[in-house]
């Protein structure tokens, strides 16, 4: 068993942990990373990345089904579901290997095992119940991520009732599917399976799909999903799942009425909880609130020398938030100048369903609730040349400004490629631009991004093409 001394030990090799480790190595810290499963974490192995590979396939399927619109005549085509899944796994594997290479390149010691805090400034690494290493470090970052939340009575069994993990690697295409929860994860699976041809029902306990998004965007998305044949029940909950041998009967309650639907499989996507257990935190001052580790703006826990970043610290559960927190945390430890806490209102969120949804900052409702006087601009894809040329006329770009100061409070988009466009508003917001700079920015023609410009103009009654 090795016993080594480091400047920093990171527990967890996801997008928070491995990025923090690389930044620490760049700053000259002797760094160790402990990972019990896959480098790259859920994001790279069981989340963001493999689902994007799947959604690419469902997009292709959708295009092939609509090839006639573009003048193609395709008499017959089909897909091999196994290969679709294999491709997704291959992508994850390739990128996980990439992370391994990056860690090696940065001379980070990687320990394969489960890391636990063992007394002050010490991490014990276990593998298959055996102690394999003991690491000492002045600074320890916990980046253990999160896992799917389960509801009592609706616990996933991995066969008929799936979490995201089983939903990503099924043996065969389910013919019909119930998705419980319409956040980003639920909706992406619903969109994938629907566009691959499954009969999909979505149940959401809130009154709208994608409940964290702007209300207008939620309503727009719902319309599009329903147009694609998705069945959506909002203000509804699954009260019971009767499991058959190869199917499930779900009892869905809404507005005092109960309906039953028979489906092949169920995907539970009702949120996530932090992996804050079994980390040896009981003997420390680290506080845990409803499964999430409590930290300050520099990712410090209440125990000196122990930090936590990413999903294990709570919402928003986003890989890029974890990475950023990791970098800030490490730079602060290293005493770098010009380090600033993460401004969560500048973190974009993307959902890669069809049509895509992307946003940054406050929703219109949240902005109003905070007492802002607003200027709101909207621009529809229908008014944009590139969108029409692409055959993607459904979507909108919405911008929200503080009427008093011209501060960009929020941007909300739905439609083709908006997950790439949102960065424009992310930069604008981070640099604290006002409507004036956005109006003065020259947007290339023809591009979908022109709608960002038009939406800003519209907020001030100056839209040209609508």
């Amino acid at each position: 068993m090795s016993e080594e001394k480091f400047d920093l030990v990171v527990i967890g090799g996801g997008p928070g942990g491995y990025v923090a480790a690389i930044r620490a190595a760049q700053l000259g810290m002797k760094t160790a990373l402990v990972e019990s499963a896959h480098l790259g974490g859920i994001c790279l192995n069981w989340g963001c990345i493999p689902t994007k590979a799947l959604l690419r396939c469902s997009e292709i399927n959708h295009l092939l089904n609509h090839a006639g619109q573009y003048g193609f005549k395709i008499n017959d085509f089909s897909f091999d579901f196994k290969k679709v899944i294999e491709r997704s796994r291959g992508v994850a594997k390739q990128l996980s290997g990439g992370v391994q290479h990056l860690l090696k390149k940065n001379k980070i010691a990687v320990f394969d095992g489960f890391g636990k805090i063992a007394g002050s400034k010490s991490v014990a690494v276990e593998k298959d119940g055996k102690a394999v290493a003991s690491l000492r470090a002045e600074h320890i970052i916990i980046a253990t991520g999160a896992r799917a939340r389960s509801l009592p009575g609706l616990e996933p069994d991995g066969k008929l009732v799936w979490t995201y993990k089983e939903a990503m690697v099924p043996d065969a295409m389910p013919k019909s599917l119930l998705v419980v929860g319409s956040g980003a994860i639920g909706i992406e699976f619903a969109s994938f399976y629907r566009n691959m041809g499954a009969d999909v029902t979505v149940v959401e306990i809130m009154d709208r799909v994608l409940p964290v998004e702007d209300e207008e965007i939620s309503a727009f998305a719902r319309k599009q999903f329903e147009k694609q044949g998705m069945k959506i029940r909002t203000g509804a909950k699954v009260v019971k799942l009767d499991k058959g041998t190869n199917d499930v009967t779900a009892h869905i309650e809404s507005g005092g009425k109960t309906e039953t639907v028979k489906i092949d499989r169920v995907i539970m996507a009702v949120g996530i909880v932090g992996n804050s257990e079994n980390l040896g935190l009981e003997k420390t001052k680290v506080k845990i609130d409803r499964g999430h580790i409590v930290t300050d703006e520099w990712s410090r826990t209440d125990e000196p020398g122990i930090y936590a970043i990413g999903d294990v610290t709570g919402a928003p559960w986003l890989a890029h938030k974890a990475s950023h927190e990791g970098v800030i945390c490490v730079e602060r430890i290293a005493g770098q100048k010009d380090v600033h806490p993460l401004d969560k209102s500048n973190i974009p969120g993307c959902t890669y369903c069809m049509p895509q949804v992307a946003s940054v900052g406050l929703t219109e409702k949240a902005a109003k609730e905070r007492g802002y006087e607003l200027k709101v601009g909207r621009f529809p894809f229908m008014g944009n040349g590139k969108a029409i040329a692409m055959g993607e006329p459904e979507g909108m770009v919405k911008t929200i400004f503080d009427a008093k100061t011209g501060a960009l409070l929020g941007a909300h988009m739905i439609g083709a490629e908006v997950t790439e466009m949102i960065q424009g508003f992310g930069i604008a917001k981070t640099l604290e631009t006002t409507e004036v700079e956005l109006m003065h920015t020259v947007f290339a023609h023809p591009s979908l991004s022109e709608m960002m410009h038009e939406s800003v103009l519209d907020a001030y009654g100056r839209a040209i093409h609508f």
């Binding site: 010009d338 600033h340 100061t405 011209g406 501060a407 640099l431 604290e432 631009t433 006002t434 004036v436 700079e437």
Partner: protein, 311 residues
């Protein structure tokens, strides 16, 4: 102020807009953003206060200039390197404003200096006479006479009562005299407005009131912003003469030294008189040497014959 060679202030567009709305001078702020960039939070945090700076119509609305650098060598780095012991006295907004404005003045305004010597025996006698008869109702200082003399001279010779702008020289109708006052927080220059229209007693009372409130930090912005000409007097410290830095966008500042007894020749006779040296710092862009000299000549006449100020 010139608006010519300006150092760039890094501030976000939103911070600039908020600062303009709140009347905050960005140059007085320390940015908390990346590389010291001024961000919204620096304006809204409450740390920002409206700028303590004179403004005039000639002043461009945005006045970017960074906090002054200390001439290329960082004093702290050097002191640390040499192991010198020191106390750090943090710079407040007033200190930063003084530093920035005077650095900018000295770097961008072409100064030249003219010195005259005034015999103030008559002035001192007149002052004594007036004060004796006041029965304590008021007490005129030598500086009150100097302020009055400066104002009357500017009124008589407005070519020295000017400010430079790129397109024109502004010649002011009134002599608004900025009087340098030392306060615990630093230098501030409250203004005796239209001083040419005011009597010595009124000037004296105004200066007392303004200086008192300046020391308590209770001046309103309009009481120290503006001014067309400055007077700085270090006579009470025994300084015989000095050259002052122009207070932009003004063109002239008069540095007044201590009255000193010395022999002089009058009509072939050696006499003893009290002399006071006055040095005028002049912005050559707006005021030429001859103009400055002519002004000093008039000023000297008023100081040496204070009774003529009654005319």
């Amino acid at each position: 102020m010139t608006g010519q060679t300006q150092e760039r202030i890094f501030a976000t567009p939103l911070a600039r807009r908020l600062a303009a709305e709140k009347g905050v001078d960005l140059a007085t702020l320390k940015g908390s953003g990346p590389r010291g960039r001024i961000v919204k939070a620096d304006i809204t945090s409450g740390a920002a206060t409206p700028a303590h700076r004179p403004s005039s119509q000639s002043t461009p609305p945005q006045k970017p200039a960074s906090a002054p650098a200390s001439g290329g060598i960082d004093a702290k780095q050097l002191a640390d390197a040499l192991g010198m012991s020191y106390t750090e006295i943090p710079n407040d907004n007033v200190r930063r404003t003084i530093a920035r404005r005077l650095l900018e003045s000295k770097q961008t305004v072409p100064h030249f200096y003219l010195t005259v010597e005034c015999r103030i025996d008559t002035l001192l006698a007149t002052r004594k006479d007036i004060n004796d008869k006041a029965n304590g109702a008021y007490k005129l200082s030598v500086n009150d006479f100097v302020i009055k003399a400066c104002a009357n001279a500017l009124h008589a010779y407005p070519k020295a009562n000017v400010a430079w702008t790129d397109s024109a020289i502004l010649q002011f109708a009134h002599a608004d005299i900025s009087v340098a006052v030392a306060t615990p927080n630093g230098l501030i220059t409250p203004i005796v407005k239209k001083a040419e229209t005011k009597g010595l007693r009124q000037i004296s009372e105004e200066v007392k009131d303004l200086a008192g409130r300046a020391r308590e930090g209770k001046l309103k912005p309009e009481e120290f912003q503006g001014g067309t000409f400055s007077v700085s007097n270090l006579g009470m410290y025994g300084v015989p003469e000095f050259g002052a830095i122009i207070n932009p966008p003004q063109s002239c500042i008069l540095a007044v030294g201590a009255g000193e007894e010395k022999p002089y020749v009058d009509g072939g006779e050696i006499k003893i008189g009290t002399f006071m040296k006055c040095t005028l710092s002049v912005d050559h862009r707006a005021v030429d040497g001859a103009v400055g000299a002519a002004y000093l000549q008039i000023l000297r006449q008023y100081i040496e014959n204070p009774i003529s100020m009654l005319l």
